[in-house]
């Protein structure tokens, strides 16, 4: 095997989205050497640059920051009430408290570092994902964080249940890299790539959660997956863009099915109002769209028609001029859509995977079950429970900062351990396997098939038969297809098939965890709806589902909730009625959250 470069550092941060950058910057404060690895290009990968982006905090603290709106009558208690009811009580309340407490400070820092705020409301500021990434990149460079791009970490190395390093792959050159470190912060975001269509970058295939799981960390609440509503399904050039979601959230509009019916007719009017004009729209409208699809009432690409409806054109034009100046959303040219909206012509929209509530189990210090392994941001489980309405963007900063701090402290006075070279050799041989298998299965084909099945069976609406069918499929793939994945040639230089083959087992692992959890959760709550168990069951299911990784299979256990101050309700309530109750439980603070 070729000579492999070894890089030593104190704290290794895996993932270059907002959480990774923020953790790296903070760990550096502890006088540690910090290396942050990003699978894609620096500051232009992961979900963070794709975000709108809103940053939420309590309006009272916000009103004290110069230049921002903020509702002075808002409070930490009100925000707490709102996040926990939106999460249908499955939230880790300690993490919710941490979010609320740290949010104002983390926003001020960002503004000090140069973040521009576009607009603000009662408890949210609106900026851009790319703007945030630019600020973070500048700051990380200025404090001396070492940065590496286009490198995918494949596996963690542990010794006696402590992290000692990792194995990475330079995606461009195909060279392996050994990393030796004292602490690791996992910040690899979600696993959008397991679904199609999706709204995420193509780098989000879940290796971080999956490798932490293999290394001995638990993962949990994997059945809760948020689908963004009203994303473009056509034309291909716009597919997955959330532009119609943004416009419809602010201005409304109309959704019709292939029979010309208004799909919201018949639903409770309060539910419709809150479920379209607040950020509850992701859960409510995606549920409605999925139902239409299951009833065969959708158009060619599986979506519904979105038109301006009764919303005023002047209002839409005004909003568009702020969020997509000149109908440009970055390089996306939406001029034609502007014309269509004005003339009330339809575009096809539908739900697409956007956010993962579940992930790596952490405590309130962001520690996992593996010593020295921390997790932050979307790859971690906890803040949002069964349904996210408040900003995920806030969480990546509040968690990133504290996880980075704790990892830095942990690494500070510790010696690094030697890497087990024979274990590394084995891992590399395994990784190289797809390059040597001949006449096997094509990775791209398998990925396509899996993505379509995930969309169908693990969407907003599920049932036992479908989940079991999908599970059988995944189990079969694991045994009969994954070992046979093979690339057309054995070139290691930017070999897309090889990347697909390396990513796929991770996606299958997370899908299996998710499907098993969705099967186990015999109730409906938040973004998980079971046709065969259509009630929210607060007598039996105020529990998290934790998945332990055993070499052979997964072990699923229930875990009691982490509650600090808000006791959950009891009783069994039909899904949409409970959703309505949670909307009604909202505090008197206005805005979209």
């Amino acid at each position: 095997m070729r000579n492999v470069k070894t890089i030593e550092t104190d704290v290794l941060v895996i993932g270059g989205g907002g959480a990774g950058f923020r953790a790296a910057i903070e760990a550096r404060e502890k006088e540690c050497n910090v290396l942050m690895i990003s699978k894609g290009p620096l500051a232009r990968c992961g979900a963070t640059p794709m975000a709108g982006a809103d940053y939420t905090l309590d309006g009272k603290s916000m009103s004290k920051i110069e230049g921002l709106t903020g509702d002075p009558n808002d409070s930490a208690e009100k925000v707490f009430n709102d996040i926990v009811t939106q999460g249908c009580y499955l939230n880790n309340q300690k993490l919710v408290e941490q979010y609320i407490k740290r949010a104002p400070q983390c926003l001020k820092e960002l503004m000090d570092w140069g973040l521009k705020v576009k607009l603000s409301d009662e408890r949210m500021i609106f900026t851009t994902g790319t703007g945030m990434m630019n600020v973070l990149l500048r700051k990380a460079k200025s404090v001396g964080v070492d940065l590496l791009e286009d490198v995918a970490v494949l596996e963690l190395l542990t010794h006696e249940n402590s992290v000692v390093g990792a194995l990475g792959l330079n995606v461009l050159t195909g060279e392996f890299i050994h990393f030796r470190c004292k602490a690791i912060v996992m910040a690899t975001g979600g696993w959008h790539k397991a679904f199609w269509p999706n709204t995420g970058m193509r780098d989000l295939s879940g290796e971080g959660i999956a490798m932490a799981h293999r290394a001995g960390a638990d993962i949990g609440n994997m059945e809760f997956i948020t689908f963004c509503c009203n994303t473009f399904y056509a034309p291909p050039m716009w597919r997955g863009s959330i532009a119609p979601y943004i416009i419809s959230l602010i201005c409304g509009g109309r959704l019709t099915n292939n029979r010309g019916e208004d799909v919201l007719k018949g639903y409770d009017s309060f539910l419709v109002e809150k479920g379209t004009l607040t950020e509850w729209n992701k859960s409510f409208l995606s549920f409605v769209t999925a139902k239409q699809a299951r009833d065969g009432k959708v158009f060619a690409n599986g979506g519904l028609h979105y038109t301006r409806g009764d919303a005023s054109w002047e209002m839409m034009e005004l909003v568009a001029s702020m969020v997509f100046p000149n109908w440009k959303y970055k390089a996306l040219d939406l001029t034609e859509w502007g014309r269509m909206l004005q003339e009330n012509e339809p575009v096809e929209v539908g739900h697409a995977v956007e956010f993962f509530e579940g992930g790596i189990v952490i405590n309130d210090q962001f520690e996992t079950a593996v010593a020295g392994l921390y997790a932050a941001g979307e790859c971690a489980l906890g803040t949002f429970g069964a349904n996210r309405v408040f900003a995920a963007i806030t969480e990546i900063f509040t968690q990133g900062a504290d996880a980075g701090n704790n990892a830095g402290e942990y690494a500070h006075n510790r010696q690094s351990a030697d890497l087990d070279l024979s274990a590394l050799k084995e891992l590399k041989e395994k990784a190289l396997q797809p390059l040597t298998v001949s006449k096997g299965e094509r990775p791209a084909e398998l990925r396509k098939r899996v993505q379509r099945k995930s969309q169908r069976y693990l969407g907003p609406i599920r049932n036992r038969d479908e989940l079991e069918t999908f599970l059988d499929y995944l189990e079969d793939i694991k045994v009969s297809v994954l070992p046979k994945l093979s690339t057309t040639n054995d070139s290691r230089t930017y070999n897309k098939e090889w990347m697909d083959a390396l990513e796929l087992p991770n996606m299958i692992q997370l899908l299996e965890s998710s499907v098993r959890s969705a099967l186990m959760r015999t109730e409906s709550r938040g973004v998980h709806y079971r046709e065969d168990f259509p009630d929210t069951d607060n007598d039996n299911w105020l529990q998290e589902i934790i998945v332990k990784h055993d070499t052979a299979t997964f072990q699923l256990n229930q875990r009691p909730l982490t509650i600090t101050s808000m006791s959950p309700p009891t009783g069994v309530t039909p899904y949409l009625d409970f959703m309505k109750q949670m909307m009604e439980a909202h505090s008197d603070t206005g805005g979209k959250h």
């Binding site: 791009e149 034309p235 291909p236 050039m237 970055k330 390089a331 990775p443 070139s491």
Partner: protein, 110 residues
Amino acid sequence: MTDEKIKVNVFRYDPAVDQEPYYQTYNVPWEPGMSAMTALDYIYNHLDGTLAYYDHAGCDLGICSQCTGKINGKSGLFCQTAVKEEITLEPRKKERVLKDLITQRAESSK
């Protein structure tokens, strides 16, 4: 999708095995509103798994700008350039090709 197909000519070069660059032509089904990236994805998924283009972390929505290249000789984003007829796709800098449409990064990233 329509039955119509278009020709997509792609710059190919793997310095490790090719003496010099060449162009390979693929027939790709055309659909309204497709981009050069839609065509590349089709080729990779259905016709030729060896084709290299920046995709392991692309956004496909005109935000990350990693898929910059030449489309019929003009610089642009593959993901936001509409394709309506025969088209030629090349890397942004032919002198710096790592493989096919992928170019080396300007400086090491540290």
